[in-house]
Symmetry: C2
Subunit: 659 residues, 2 copies
């Protein structure tokens, strides 16, 4: 017990240091975000996709058709941008229809039923986790592209970044917004500089550098590098398109997070969504265009953006600024998930589909448990996939498009029911989006299934089963504890049993407590050695405190079994009888001293846990002074510090209660 206590104190100190002092609930409203900050916090997932989306198209195509891949990157990117515009317009409608946020889960649940809602929820939870894993590994790739000597430490750098994000988020949502606004705008500035300079160079014919980094292809692909035709070419283009669709991940973040916006939240969110889509489209097309122009292919060591930076800027301060900003933005993208995963978990917990611990706001008003769980799972993913973005991306985007489809199908139903002004064309817009994203979801699953997509196809159903099982438990639980009777609460007949092993202060403290809570108290001694019984019995008779000593023989040396049998026999006398077992529990001063004492109190509690009408109480007897009280109370705004309290006393006189 006290081991846990000391750990609690230590954890509390570390926690206050890292996470900050608790904030009162009334400050919740003030933690909302301005549009500029919201763009930084909630759009970074989508915008940051430019750091790896072009790479993915080229990576997949390049493996099959080599440098010829660059010829296809621009049209594929164009199709994706078209899809992006459609989806963004759809979500704009969702923002106004659902002012409190909640995104795909809420929309699907409300309009298509709980089943569709849970599919959306499972897909979203999966994708938030992958957002963290993919963004962080891609962010570290930006760093290792600039500093190749760090390449061997990829996994460590990824894990460290996730830990940092977790701590920042546990501090609360406004702090994290403020901390990350600057780097996002630096990235936007750097990207504009890159694209404008690159285009200017092309236009003016000033090409400073030539392409130096050759495409690295694995030997197996190299053998097959005959140019595909017909179905094979179509499948390849679809695969490239599917991987490129990773650019659209994060589009739903703003409509999920309306409640984080300053008022008027809906209008602000819609404006921010527009800005986000525009920036993303421009950067993605710009990157793909420059990649084609410079004939850049991604390698396992260097990203497309890094290579473009070296070509356009040269390896100078501007280049490093771009890399740092890319890293910072990707960390911020992961941060989007740290805002949304806990929020969705909280909504699911309120709907009783997730453990209720996810619905509680922590000391700093963030959903602490969701943040910690997200960080842990993402760390596992990064470690298992060794921080390799290219291995993680095929798992990504499948869930996103499942959500897009469900969300927009839900909106179709919404317009059908609401018949608001303009519902027809709104419904058609969402319907178009639903069909398009459903088609893309199908393309995602079929083209990427063997490349890792099967993992997601397995995990999403598992998550749904888990959500349903949790829900069933809570429903049953609510039923089980429902109190329907008009019964008056009345005391039961009550006997107290105190297991003793001698006459000590600990025993005496337990007996004081026992006589306080009942008039029928029995001390019980478990006899292992008859000679010791005689000694105790004599001392007990001499003590003469009016509490009888019952001796229970224990031929098998067990303390628990005779005690359980005796208490059961007391209970059998009358079925309404209530028995309390009061156990003297010695609490040592130092952690290692716990190993020197039997955990009798714990075992007795466990033995009686499933026995009806038996309550086990331990009366702690503290060895030494009541130390470290201040440690426990430190940083505790609710309590005036209490310096030092007396140990359990024995009142030698006083009125005995009338009975």
């Amino acid at each position: 017990m006290a081991v846990s206590l000391e750990m609690t104190i230590a954890i509390k100190h570390v926690k206050n240091l890292l996470v900050g002092r608790p904030l009162p609930s009334e400050r919740l409203e003030h933690e909302r975000l301005s549009k500029k900050t919201a763009l930084a916090v909630l759009s970074s997932d989508a915008i940051s996709s430019v750091a790896y989306a072009t790479d993915q198209i080229l990576f997949v195509l390049g493996g099959a058709i080599g440098l010829a891949a660059v010829n296809y990157v621009v049209p594929i990117s164009g199709v994706i941008v078209g899809l992006l515009v459609l989806v963004a317009l759809s979500y704009r409608q969702t923002i106004f229809a659902y002012p409190h946020g909640g995104g795909s889960y809420t929309v699907a649940r409300d309009n298509l039923g709980v089943g569709a809602g849970l599919v959306a929820a499972a897909a979203l939870l999966t994708d938030y986790i992958l957002t963290v894993a993919v963004s962080i590994s891609s962010g570290i790739a930006a760093i290792t592209s600039a500093y190749p000597q760090l390449h061997d430490h990829t996994v460590l750098l990824c894990v460290a970044s996730i830990v940092l994000l977790m701590v920042v988020n546990l501090r609360g949502v406004r702090d994290s917004g403020a901390a990350f606004s600057v780097p996002t705008y630096v990235f936007i500035f750097a990207m504009i500089a890159l694209i404008v300079t690159g285009l200017y160079r092309e236009w003016s014919g000033h090409e400073l550098a030539t392409i130096t980094a050759p495409l690295k292809v694995d030997p197996v692909s190299a053998h097959q590098m005959t140019f595909p035709t017909g179905f094979a070419l179509a499948f390849l283009m679809l695969r490239g398109f599917a991987e490129g669709c990773v650019a659209m991940t994060g589009t739903e973040a703003i409509s999920n997070g309306i409640s984080a916006f300053k008022q008027p939240a809906q209008r602000n969110a819609a404006t921010t969504l527009g800005w986000m889509a525009a920036i993303l489209a421009a950067f993605f097309m710009g990157t793909s265009y420059l990649a084609r122009h410079y004939g850049v292919m991604p390698t396992t060591d260097e990203t497309v953006l890094s290579q473009l930076g070296r070509h356009v800027f040269g390896t100078n301060a501007a280049y490093y600024l771009l890399q740092y900003a890319t890293f910072a933005l990707l960390v911020l993208a992961a941060n989007t998930a740290f805002a949304d995963f806990p929020r969705l978990s909280g909504i699911l917990a309120n709907d009783r589909f997730m453990p209720r611990q996810f619905s509680a706001r922590g000391d700093r008003l963030a959903f602490s448990n969701g943040i910690i769980v997200l960080a842990l799972i993402a760390m596992v993913l990064v470690i298992v996939f060794k921080g390799d973005t290219n291995a993680l991306v095929p798992l990504y985007a499948i869930g996103v498009f499942v959500c897009f489809t469900l969300s927009q199908s839900g909106m179709v139903m919404h317009w059908l029911r609401s018949h608001e002004p303009g519902w027809r064309w709104r419904m058609m817009l969402n319907g178009l989006g639903a069909i398009a994203t459903a088609a893309v979801a199908l393309v995602q699953v079929t083209t990427k299934f063997t490349a890792g997509g099967w993992i997601v196809c397995l995990i999403i159903p598992l998550i749904i089963v888990m959500l349903l099982k949790i829900h069933r438990h809570y429903v049953q639980f609510a039923e089980d504890i429902k109190f329907t009777g008009q019964a008056t609460i009345l005391p039961l007949h009550h006997t107290v049993v105190v297991p003793v092993n001698g006459i000590t202060k600990a025993t005496a403290a337990a007996l004081v407590y026992a006589t306080t809570i009942s008039d029928e108290v029995m001390a019980v001694y478990i006899e292992v050695d008859k000679r010791e019984t005689k000694v105790l019995q004599d001392a007990w008779d001499e003590w003469d405190i009016g509490v009888p000593l019952v001796v229970l023989p224990s031929p098998y040396r067990s303390v628990l079994r005779p005690l359980v049998a005796y208490v059961e026999s007391l209970r059998m006398v009358s079925p309404g009888e209530l028995v309390t077992v009061v156990v003297p529990e010695v609490v040592p001063r130092r952690w290692w001293e716990h190993f020197l004492h039997n955990k009798t109190a714990f075992y007795i509690r466990t033995a009686f846990l499933f026995k009806a009408n038996v309550v086990v109480t331990s009366v702690p007897f503290l060895l030494g002074h009541s130390y470290r009280l201040r440690d426990l109370l430190e940083h505790d705004p609710d309590v005036d510090a209490v310096e030092s309290l007396p140990r359990i006393p024995f009142r030698n006189s006083g009125p005995r209660r009338a009975s």
Copy 2:
């Protein structure tokens, strides 16, 4: 809590399966050993040394002087046998002087003081652990000598053997004696056959095989293989002697284990000691003589005994019988430690130098905790040293000779004080033994220090410090809980606080209990959301059970802090005031459901653990039927199985206690 409970049930099932049903204490006397069985159980450590002692001499000498080593093995063995006779005679005197056993620790403590006793105890504990590690790795070497293909699985085989030994010993001492008697006598038979056949072959000149296994020396030694002279030669011989002294380990086992003998225990023990010394001396000399005759050198892959077996018998059934018997005897040698380590731990625990858990006999009358701890530490050693006997042996024997010296010095003091008939020559015999073994102990430390001996020289003092710290705790503890007052146990004034979060069956059960144990009951609600408070307050007023509802605002959303502050404020009213916090605790049916509920009861208990005069009681509310009661009671000889008990009831009528 219930997680622990389910684990308890599972562990109990596995335990009963492996270890057997509990035995009553009265069967303790019947678990004693006959002379023949005792020779098998207690002498095997000493006798089995022939499986590696000759190897060690040749291994050390061979590394320096190659095959010439065989010329020195017989004289060195002769000196060791002389020492053995001296030590055996000394211990024979100890057996008669100390009828209850206890060996070096008891003798040193009683005659030389607690300090010397603790040195002996630490040395003995170390040696028992090394007995297990060395014997098991040597036993597995006997098997891998016969089946070289198993060589790669050495560590796994060692660990499996230790686990087997642990389980057998947890079953109790007689079972293990019976299980192991046969192999010991087979080994004795096989060794006699080996030596007699070998000697006959030598005498008759029938040499069937020539030496095939060459000495493997490591390259470094090979370069230095100039024959040493003067001091270097003397040091080498001393080192060989020191390593060969490992043959004497286990000599003290019988005098430690007198209490395991059938009556007359002392006479039986003395006879057994004589037989043991004679068998050991004959086998050791025989092995060393044959090794010299056949020019056998140990290799890392094959032991001396195995090579001798192949030469004398050929690789036939007789050879395999010898190897199996060697393995079995070495397992039995390890078993000696499994008898002695827990017994010494028990004695030390009774003297309050070890945790008291070591003094309790388990269900099968063995000292379960000592057995388990020994097995775990030995496993760690075997894993760290990769099951290599040659790496483990230098750690061994140092402690043994420290014990020999202390034990015999103690006996010198004993005779000086007792002045029994013949005390003079008895004292001289023990004095001679003490001087000789002290000299050998010194040789052990100096010659083997750099080869691993330093580890033992570090660990023995550490163990002594640990024993002393434990002792100091228990002494202080006994002082702390000593009850000296003539105080009568009288009840205190008592208030009960019940934290509630709604009107549920769990709350109602807690309130039934609260009103049973006190007339002053307050329900406390922690307010996080004011609207919810209003709803509860109205429902509470309507319920009208005569228990006031106190609402505590919690601006920081913590349940614990306002509760702690409130209870403290109650306690401040009058210092003698006793407060019980009665917490409704929901106990789910399945293990994973625990993750769906806050561990509020646990946190509340922890928060109040160091607060004086506050007792925390949880009233368990069982979800679903009171299941698995039979599982818990199964195999429980003290309790008549109770089929199914009612859940916590609400008595709707009944007399309220007079107050």
